[in-house]
């Protein structure tokens, strides 16, 4: 009964929405034009990065807060250490992973730097860093986390704190996250570097924390 109702509702919803979507007048506000017009003042050349870190940088600030928060919630939910044994890993794989990890870090740095003028940026770079960590974890070179040490916590929150500091600093001089055009590029790079490290750690942490009940030591 419930199934039928939900399916029926979903179908009606799709039909209704599709019907309404197809005869739409052009939007009255064209933000891509505004983005293009203000791009020179944003400090970066890639419009998506400009929106992410300058025009709507505040969204990004809160979004990093969400990510950090999810990390903390996972930490707070309770640690349990049920031990079991994982099949041992092929040493060839380990060697490959050791080779791949530095490469991936280089890719991350490239993506971070490239974000200023072409697709890429802190998110993608952070994701690659995280992927490297996950890889190392899978071949048992990096243990799962128990409860993070102070240094690790600093790494996790560091990027967010840099972002916050930049925000607070700009707020004291004017508006929140208002970069002076001449320093905008450098400030954004600073924020992005911090974010890359922290994002990498947090994203990796999400994985490493979740897989902690596989019995690896701290």
């Amino acid at each position: 009964m419930k199934r039928l109702l939900v399916v029926l509702g979903a179908v009606c919803f799709v039909v209704l929405l599709l019907g309404a979507m197809f005869d739409l007048a052009p939007a009255s506000v064209q933000l891509h034009a505004a983005v293009a017009a203000n791009l020179p003042a944003s400090g970066v050349e890639h419009p998506v990065t400009a929106v992410l870190l300058n025009f709507r940088g505040y969204d990004t600030l809160l979004e990093i807060a969400v990510l950090l928060l999810a990390m903390i919630v996972i930490l707070a939910t309770g640690i349990d250490t049920a031990a079991d044994v994982r099949p041992s890993v092929n040493p060839v794989l380990q060697a490959l992973a050791k080779l791949a990890a530095p490469l991936m870090i280089m890719v991350a740095v490239y993506l971070l730097w490239a974000g200023a003028f072409r697709p890429g940026g802190a998110f993608q770079a952070g994701a690659v860093l995280a992927a490297a960590a996950v890889l190392l974890h899978l071949v048992e070179l990096l243990p799962g986390w128990q409860s993070p040490s102070t240094r690790l916590r600093l790494g996790l929150a560091g990027g967010f704190l840099v972002f916050l500091a930049v925000g607070a600093g700009s707020l004291m001089r004017g508006a929140l996250l208002e970069y002076p055009p001449e320093h905008a590029g450098r400030l954004i790079l600073l924020v992005e570097s911090g974010l890359t490290v922290s994002l990498g750690l947090i994203l990796a942490g999400l994985f490493l924390l979740l897989s902690r009940d596989d019995g690896d030591g701290p």
């Binding site: 697709p119 890429g120 940026g121 998110f123 993608q124 994701a127 995280a130 979740l210």
Partner: protein, 82 residues
């Protein structure tokens, strides 16, 4: 109907199909694999929507990390069951 549009149409169908399978597959591991496939198709779609940034992020985070998390969770469940 241009070639591009046919490609888009096929992609769209594949996305809906993979999403459907990822929710309806009877085996959980298949469902997760289908979901990762879905994520990769999403990345393609983003590329088609001239949004390479999202495509990169979707491939790395949406399909990659989420997939890894799901597979790991699946593995943990399996190990516990055993």
């Amino acid at each position: 109907m241009s070639l591009e549009f046919i490609f888009d149409l096929l992609l769209a169908l594949a996305m809906v199909w993979s999403a459907w399978r990822s929710l309806s597959a009877s085996r959980l591991d298949r469902a997760i694999v289908m979901f990762i496939v879905f994520g990769l198709l999403m990345a393609l779609a983003w590329a088609r929507l001239s949004a390479p940034d999202i495509g990169l992020a979707e491939a790395a985070i949406g399909a990659g990390l989420t997939g890894a998390l799901l597979l790991d969770a699946y593995g943990a469940l399996k190990r516990r069951e055993a």
